[in-house]
Amino acid sequence: MSDVRDPLYTSLAQRVIAILWPSFLTAGLATVLLFTWIDPAELSLYVPGAEGVTRLGAYSAGFFGLWAITAVSSALTSYFGRPAGR
């Protein structure tokens, strides 16, 4: 397994999984923490334009928003994890 041909290093699919999957897990955790703390129904009272947002919609949108952010973090980690100067 210490062969440089280890597909983990070269496969695009593995890299995509390594970016999307950990960010999915952490985004799920962050969503639970965020919406335990904040009730989106109350939030919609004070955010202009958010009057019609349902809780389920807010949870879902919140999850995907957080996933996007955590995916950016994972992607940067993956990018900086590669050797520089080539």
């Binding site: 440089v4 280890d6 290093y9 070269t10 999984i17 004070y46």
Partner: protein, 465 residues
């Protein structure tokens, strides 16, 4: 696993090794039967549990839109979050405990990835046939027959996956109403999305990803070896007994030919759901499913050799030493688990069913009344976490001379598991304030319930700075 410090230079494409599809051969035997029992039991719980009712509601209902989790007779609120955190810690610690004792028991018998993969494999085998038929079909050129077989398989997989997605969402929205709504295309946008998302994930993970989830995606698979010691139950090939391996005719004395007990039939490799060779030693890809144990025992029976060439054992037992079950870390995990479980039980039992939230009116800081006093407006939320109606008295304290005005007759009835919103006004002569603002405390009192935790602080604004 990989200690390669530098990826290959130049064109990486040529080094790209495509994953070889694993076709696990069907296996019968003691551990296969145990796993089937586990799969049927767990799938039964998953698909059956949301249909149970408790009173006039679903017994297990994670009501996200209502921000309440119902578990049988209990109702949990966002305020009870620490209980969920405690439960997750207990779950993690249980996993560590069982891993130390019995290795990857979870992976081989109870992990959803294993359970649904087994179900999908079962369907695949009924339609495509066993390993050799599947391999032949995959090699064959696309034609009517292949299309029909693959199409049928995917249709059944997708129906199964869709039902799984529906059941999953049924934990969050009452399933008895969800099912008819789904089949008449009346589910809401997000509901539909999550049903399809979960169905897609089931289909993808159990139909295609399979062992790759364990090898590349599962964090537990990566760190479980840290919980292993020489007394942990593992699946191991008895190298001393098996080597040198080699084929031979039945009835031939292996000692005469200078061979060990392994006849090199490679069945242990063919049944392996992760496609490894257990004879190469303990590998992190091994999910401990014991398929190789079952199949090797059958081969040993046929050859007339004793069973257990591949068996559940421990490193110490393999070396001829005594296996100790009670080790310091096992005892420590067990004690920690007991303490945390007791804590969880105490936490659930001693939950205060009375709750109050205070929200200040955000539009008007304060209002001056004709009599010179100042009025602040709040919305009070009275929470009843119990399963029966309670009567609430609301009081304030901490602000000398303040008057609480609520346009409702006390006590206010709050239904079981319900919230009542109460507009409340607090009036006070601002001359008694030595600062522009002051803190006051709202208290919700219910006869027969403790007062601890029934208070919320609010801010009173008396004048501009």
């Amino acid at each position: 696993m990989s200690k390669a410090a530098t990826p290959p230079e130049g064109n990486e494409q040529e080094f790209y090794a495509k994953r070889a599809k694993v076709y696990p051969r069907e296996v019968h035997g003691l551990f296969a039967r145990l796993r089937t029992a586990g799969v049927l039991g767990l799938l039964g719980i998953f698909y059956g549990a949301p249909w149970l009712t408790w009173g006039d509601r679903q017994a297990i209902w994670f009501d996200l839109p209502g921000r309440k989790f119902h578990v049988i007779g209990w109702t949990f609120w966002p305020q009870d979050f620490f209980l969920l955190a405690l439960l997750l810690i207990i779950a993690a610690l249980s996993l560590f405990f069982f891993t130390t004792l019995a290795g990857r028991l979870w992976c081989g018998y109870a992990c959803p990835q294993t359970v649904w993969t087994e179900a999908f494999l079962w369907i695949e085998r009924r339609i495509e046939g066993d390993r050799s038929a599947q391999m032949k079909l995959d090699k064959a050129p696309w034609g009517g027959r292949k299309l029909a077989i693959k199409g049928t398989k995917h249709a059944i997989w997708l129906i199964f996956a869709l039902f799984t997605g529906l059941t999953f969402v049924g934990y969050f929205t009452p399933i008895a109403e969800l099912m008819p709504r789904f089949f008449t295309f009346q589910t809401g946008g997000w509901e539909t999305f999550w049903i399809l998302f979960y169905a897609f994930a089931t289909w993808g993970n159990a139909g295609f990803m399979r062992e790759q989830v364990c090898i590349y995606m599962c964090p537990y698979a990566r760190f479980q070896s840290a919980m292993f010691d020489k007394d942990t139950l593992i699946i191991s090939y008895d190298e001393k007994r098996g080597e040198p391996r080699g084929s031979r005719k039945r009835g031939v004395d292996p000692k005469e030919k200078g061979l060990g007990d392994c006849i090199d039939c490679t069945l242990c490799v063919q049944v392996c759901p992760t496609g490894i060779d257990i004879r190469d030693g303990l590998q992190y890809q091994c999910i401990g499913c014991a398929a190789c144990v079952d199949v090797c025992d059958q081969v040993m029976d046929k050859m007339g050799y004793p069973r257990g060439l591949v068996r559940y054992t421990t490193e110490n037992a393999m070396e001829g030493k005594v296996t100790k079950v009670l080790r310091p870390r096992v005892v420590l995990y067990a004690l920690l688990l007991l303490v945390l479980m007791a804590g969880l039980l105490y936490g659930i039992m001693s939950r205060n069913p009375v709750g109050i939230d205070v929200i200040r009116d955000r539009n008007v800081l304060f209002r001056e009344l004709p009599d010179g006093r100042v009025e602040n407006v709040y919305t009070l939320k009275l929470l009843n976490k119990s399963d029966s109606l309670r009567e609430y008295h609301v009081e304030i304290r901490g602000l000398e001379g303040a008057e609480l005005v609520i346009d409702r007759v006390m006590p206010v009835p709050v239904p079981a598991g319900g919230v009542v919103e109460l507009p409340a006004r607090v009036r006070l002569d601002p001359v008694v304030l030595d600062a522009p603002t002051a803190e006051l405390v709202f208290i919700a009192r219910v006869a027969g319930e403790p007062d601890a935790g029934n208070e919320r602080a609010g801010r009173f604004v008396g004048r501009m700075r």
